[in-house]
Subunit: 265 residues, 2 copies
Amino acid sequence: MKAFGALLLLSLIYVSSCHESVDSRFDSGSLPRPLLVESRKKVKISEDVALHCNSWRFAVEANNLSPWKTIPRECRDYVDDYMNGKAYKSDLERVSKEAILYARTVELKGDGKDIWVFDVDETLLSNLPYYARHGYGLEIFDDVAFDKWVDKGTAKAIKPSLKLYEELLKLGFKVFLLTGRTERRRDITVENLTKVGFHDWEKLILRGAEDKGKPATQFKSEKRGQMVKQGYRIHGSSGDQWSDLLGSPMSVRSFKLPNPMYYIA
Amino acid sequence: MKAFGALLLLSLIYVSSCHESVDSRFDSGSLPRPLLVESRKKVKISEDVALHCNSWRFAVEANNLSPWKTIPRECRDYVDDYMNGKAYKSDLERVSKEAILYARTVELKGDGKDIWVFDVDETLLSNLPYYARHGYGLEIFDDVAFDKWVDKGTAKAIKPSLKLYEELLKLGFKVFLLTGRTERRRDITVENLTKVGFHDWEKLILRGAEDKGKPATQFKSEKRGQMVKQGYRIHGSSGDQWSDLLGSPMSVRSFKLPNPMYYIA
């Protein structure tokens, strides 16, 4: 019984320290912190579930699914593991690397009209701490709670995207940011982006009053259409949603970042 | 030494029986055979290589790579394992299931103009035996050798696609087949498709003399354009290449089947 008591005590200490580390990771935003937390508890995922959830994730990333509101219940731990383990980081790095390789082959005219379009959430900024507290996409999206998180302005940079971003500026591209966030969140978005290292963008386009209710594909295509009308050449586009990338006009090359947590039509 | 001799003998028997099973799997085509061979030797793939090749495959399937001619050398065993293990089959089944779910929601007008477009190779027919003999995409594509394989007419059906195909016909869709194979291979293509269960398609469109040299995206978009001009409504499109799916006009919904073995621009 003594041994059992000691074990119980140790377990309780372990659980409470876990909670503490989780909370401190999510709530304080002033100190630099790694985007990915490698040292969290490993959940055992069975081979069958992994196979099934892998196929689901492939279907997500290849845009084979109908619009979906939540991740499959049985894939919650799988998504947790994917997002917080090595795989998400590795996938992000690969996309960034491919985009850089392509960007270096583009011949710029030097008239300031060669551009690259970035989405913001899950493309430049990571909302992983928010989604970690909401089941990694298992809960139906709650815009009020999400906006509260956004208003903290503590989202971290997605490092491989920051690397691409800096390389593009060095190469002479102009950078456009095109986000589904609304104009009301312009200031906090600028503050958050700047704080984590993004700078010198040409334009930050948010949803205005006239864009309310438009599907993302339509809103973003219209904005790309305006860029093209203004003489810009969209060589590359980076986004974690297909609605960032599809629709007319499209960028010459599109780069789909991984995101198995949510879907925006 | 006796034990060593016996071990050696056993190894040789094992190796020769492996070769035999591989050859018989590839060369004779008259008996029904499973597409996926589960019982082959397992190659040990390190965690690092798996992580790296997974990210590469994600980049392939999300269309993030520049046109590529061969798979990464270090991913050869990974691709072998993916194609011959459970993952490819599971991924194919998921895509088929999603396509069927969508197809059932489409309201058909009943005028014979509601259609679905299928690619052929790696969409309806599997050339896995050919690619298995050519390093799963590690060797540069050899059109002469590939045409010889096609001329055998022994490609197996991709079963999940056959299921979708049959469901579409039942629902009342007309089916168009649109392939990069040339008109010279019309007869063998019809023979092969029919033999493995595909039937009653509305039209089989192959590359004609006028399509020579056109990139696949252009060729297939032009053909979809002609369908639309003729009053057809393209509700769905299935293909293993993004060049089967992208370009204008696009299908209402597109379904990307997995293919980590080759890329067609």
